[in-house]
């Protein structure tokens, strides 16, 4: 749906600006990325406000986004699945992060995330996909360095917030980072692919019944 809409807008834009067929493809792709992200963000933002977990959810998303942008990660095969999973995932994460838990739980999650971050940088980053494979050694090295910078910045931020007694959002930042890193691991790929395959089977069966 977003793809069709993006194509229509880009075609109109090309008529106004005398753009080529290639321009239409590029603009449609850019617009689709924006639409996909904005729709998802708005749904999450509105629902998290209603649930009273807006700030926690946003901190979780920001941490998630930083790691994912540089490290990569697994994807679903359709936008609807991405949207449904993402909304549920971030709202649950925001809810968990808002709960008052024992400090030891936060600490354990922090150390697990840190270890996962180091392991991901050494073994799995860049976590590429079939649509965007990364094979060049130079690019792989760059992605690893960038993710290392993100991990160090995340570590400094957590230590800073903890030392200054502003630890309210530490669980949200840690949980966001943890999830992002988890979806770069073989386990993360396996989980999403299994959900995807399961939904494919249901979808095919439903089509057969019709």
């Amino acid at each position: 749906m977003n793809r069709d809409f993006a194509l229509k807008i880009s075609t109109k834009l090309a008529k106004k600006l005398d753009g080529s067929k290639q321009d239409v493809e590029i603009w449609a792709y850019g617009l689709e990325i924006i639409l996909n992200s904005v729709i998802k963000f708005l749904i999450i933002a509105v629902l998290s406000v209603f649930l009273g977990i807006f700030q926690y959810t946003m901190f979780c998303i920001i941490a998630f986004a930083f790691f994912r942008h540089f490290g990569g990660g697994v994807h679903f095969s359709t936008y609807l699945r991405c949207l449904s999973f993402g909304v549920v995932n971030f709202l649950i994460s925001g809810e968990i992060a808002s709960l008052d838990k024992v400090l030891i739980v936060h600490e354990i999650l922090f150390y697990i995330t840190l270890a996962l971050g180091v392991a991901a940088i050494l073994k799995w980053i860049p976590a590429d996909t079939k649509k965007k494979p990364i094979k060049e050694k130079e690019k792989i090295k760059k992605q690893k360095i960038k993710t290392t910078v993100v991990l160090i910045s995340w570590l400094i931020l957590i230590i800073f917030l903890d030392k200054h007694g502003k630890d309210t959002y530490i669980p949200a930042i840690t949980l966001g980072a943890f999830e992002s890193l988890l979806f770069m691991t073989p386990f993360g790929y396996w989980t999403i692919n299994e959900i995807d395959n399961f939904l494919n089977k249901i979808f095919i069966k439903t089509e057969e019944v019709k």
């Binding site: 834009l13 600006l17 603009w27 992200s37 998802k40 994912r68 990569g72 996909t129």
Partner: protein
């Protein structure tokens, strides 16, 4: 005037497209098909 605004809009879409083609989509679990012209 309108053409100028549309040109800026088109430039933004171009930047998003090239960034999106080179990095993972920030917080979405789905990636649209990358146009051939952006594949390296």
């Amino acid at each position: 005037m309108i053409k100028g605004i549309l040109s800026i809009f088109a430039s933004i879409l171009g930047i998003v497209a090239s960034t999106g083609a080179n990095a993972a989509s920030v917080f979405i679990f789905y990636e649209p098909d990358v146009p051939n012209c952006l594949k390296k």
